[in-house]
């Protein structure tokens, strides 16, 4: 039994149109996505804007309606919103992208971090305060600052306060939606290190959603690449980076700027080749609608979206 299992997930958004404003079409934000998560591991979901990676995360936790498919958490079917019971909501938490807008500016840090505790655990004022201070200590924010407001903190500190809130109920799974995209590199390093530390301490599982392949490579055990709502490739971090099979994956990897200026020319050449290959072999990798094919296994861990043979 997998820890989290997503089967053929589809999330469609209606497009309104016509004179009567009826639904005329659907945007297939997520179009048939399946994956499994093992406890204690980090699973990366990579894609560019419009790939459906965030929608996938939001659908699992219940922030978007699931059109069809199945989500199993520890073997229990939690596809339906009603099935997302108290335990599920306690076990699965989310970290958002923007530390500037995801914390209520009118609430003190104490209230922000204690909010989930108040919903799920009956604690006295003293106990609650103690717990919040412990949590702040874990995320390296001074426990003395519980009466401060979010604007008194830097971006990195705010993101860590968001993490403190997310881990308050000792969740099992954290869905992190672009958790470091809005942060400076040095702050990003703080948050990433810290996410890894608490993962070890609390045996957390991460669904790590990001557009930044460098960060994903650093953080994740397994990676999926999404394009227009579908998976184009799925595999271990090694599979994806050392042996990318799909042209879109190759293109993404080629696009990452190389931090060594001596590799510059090589990198440009490589990128040019990949772009050429992308143009020439587009029809081998995408169907007539420009969407990815179904996944075919090429090894135990590695799957690629290719047309069926024959």
């Amino acid at each position: 039994m997998a820890f989290l299992e997503v089967k053929d997930l589809q999330v469609y958004f209606p497009i309104k149109g016509g004179i009567l404003n009826r639904t005329v079409e659907y945007t297939r934000a997520v179009d048939g996505v399946s994956f499994e998560l093992e406890q204690g591991k980090t699973y990366g979901l990579v894609g560019e804007s419009g790939s459906g990676k965030s929608t996938t995360g939001r659908a699992i936790i219940g922030l978007e309606d699931i059109t069809s498919g199945q989500v199993l958490f520890e073997g229990k079917d939690i596809t339906d919103k009603k099935a997302k019971n108290k335990n599920f909501r306690k076990d699965v938490q989310m970290i958002f992208q923007d530390p500037y807008s995801s914390l209520n500016p009118r609430k003190r840090v104490l209230d922000i971090v204690a909010e989930p505790l108040r919903n799920y655990e009956k604690l006295s004022k003293q106990e609650e305060r103690k717990r919040v201070q412990e949590l702040l200590d874990i995320v390296n924010v001074s426990p003395d600052s519980i009466f401060k407001y979010p604007h008194e903190f830097s971006g990195g500190q705010r993101q860590r306060i968001g993490v403190a809130r997310a881990i308050a109920l000792k969740p099992k799974l954290i869905i992190a939606d672009e958790p470091v995209s809005a942060l400076d590199v040095s702050v990003q390093a703080q948050v990433l290190n810290f996410l890894q530390e608490i993962q070890k301490e609390l045996n957390l599982t991460y669904l790590f959603i990001s557009h930044d392949l460098g960060v994903v490579k650093h953080m994740c055990d397994n990676i999926s690449i999404m394009y227009k709502g579908r998976y184009v490739e799925q595999g271990s971090t090694k599979d994806i980076f050392e042996n990318p099979q799909h042209i879109y994956t190759k293109r993404l990897i080629a696009a990452i700027p190389d931090i060594d200026p001596r590799n510059r020319e090589k990198q440009f050449e490589f990128r040019k080749e990949v772009t050429k290959e992308y143009r020439e072999s587009f029809n081998n990798y995408f169907d007539s609608n420009g969407l990815a094919f179904g996944l075919q296994s090429i090894s135990d861990t590695h799957k690629v979206a290719l047309p069926e043979k024959g």
């Binding site: 149109g17 016509g18 004179i19 009567l20 404003n21």
Partner: protein, 320 residues
């Protein structure tokens, strides 16, 4: 854009139907009916009842509503018991006066509001801006009839520049050049009174649009292109800020209605607003009902106009 306009028109229709129901229900609650005031008080109640039956006044409300609506469509708004004439004829006489007055005050409003709004927005937080904004607060706070009284007293009585009542000088041939000039001359002072109050919302709206647009990124792009400060304001900031003002035009009409009601009273200007007040105080309910319906329809059409203008001037709505 066409889809948007058609959809917008489709919404307007039920709005008007709903308004008519509301007005009808309101009319039902008023004391008396179409016969009250028409009839000799000595007539016997039995005879009255026969008349009622004949006129359909005892029918259920929805039948009466349909009858009333049928009359409306044919231009039959009932009888005014005070003037002893058809409401339709009574109103149509006044409508032209009010339209003229509205037009004059609209022109005054924009002539005053746009330059002041631009100055206020461009030089925000300068003494000039503070003065204009100060006036705006005064305008927001002062009831329109007090303003109108002051204007009337200063320009009408003290300086004697303008006529103090009526819509046209007596004794002129309708249709002659003098007649039209006199009509316009009579509308100027009340028009200005309305404008002096209605400008304040437009000034403040324009001011905040300009202050907002000033800080947009594309203004920096314009400066980086080498556009002079005047060009930046004229070609980029004003144009983009005037767009919502253009859309505000329809709503302006709605606010004019409330303006005319009081100002026409102060200037004894024979328009719909004056008629409305006279009818209310004289309990001439059929006229009140008709006017409320007209004012309501004007407001709904004003809002419709706003949305249509916006859809035409804003490419983000136009191209879809």
């Amino acid at each position: 854009m066409w889809k948007f306009i058609v959809r917008r028109l489709l919404v307007t229709f039920p709005q008007i139907v709903f308004l008519s129901v509301l007005v009808f229900v309101m009319a039902q609650f008023m004391p008396g009916d179409a016969l009250t005031g028409l009839i000799d008080p000595n007539i016997s109640p039995e005879a009255l009842e026969i008349q009622r039956e004949r006129l359909g006044l005892n029918n259920p409300w929805y039948v009466q509503y349909v009858d009333w609506l049928g009359g409306l469509v044919q231009g039959d708004l009932g009888q005014s018991f005070r003037f002893k004439m058809d409401v339709t004829a009574l109103i149509s006489e006044r409508v032209m006066n009010t339209i003229l007055l509205s037009l004059v005050s609209l022109i005054f409003t924009y002539l005053i509001a746009i330059p002041l709004g631009i100055i206020s927005g461009r030089y925000n937080d300068s003494p000039l801006d503070s003065a204009i904004t100060g006036y705006s607060y005064l305008g927001f706070a002062t009831p329109i009839f007090i303003f109108a009284l002051v204007v009337l007293w200063v320009f009408g009585f003290m300086l004697g520049w303008f006529p103090t009542s009526g819509s046209v000088a007596p004794g002129l041939d309708a249709g002659s050049m003098e007649y039209y000039i006199s009509k316009l001359y009579h509308a100027l002072l009340p028009g200005l009174s309305i404008a002096l109050i209605s400008v304040v919302s437009t000034i403040q709206y324009l001011r905040s649009e300009i202050v907002d647009t000033k800080q947009k990124d594309f203004i920096i792009t314009a400066r980086a292109k080498g556009a002079s400060e005047n060009r930046v304001y004229n070609k980029h900031i004003f144009r983009n800020s005037l767009l919502p003002i253009a859309a505000f035009f329809g709503w302006e009409i709605t606010s004019l209605i409330s303006g005319t009601v009081f100002v026409e009273r102060v200037f004894s200007y024979p328009g719909m607003g004056l008629l409305f007040l006279e009818s209310v105080t004289g309990r001439d309910f059929s006229v009140v009902t008709a006017l409320v319906l007209l004012f309501g329809i004007a407001s709904i059409l004003g809002a419709l106009l706003s949305d249509i203008i916006l859809s035409i001037v804003d490419p983000r709505i136009r191209i879809k």
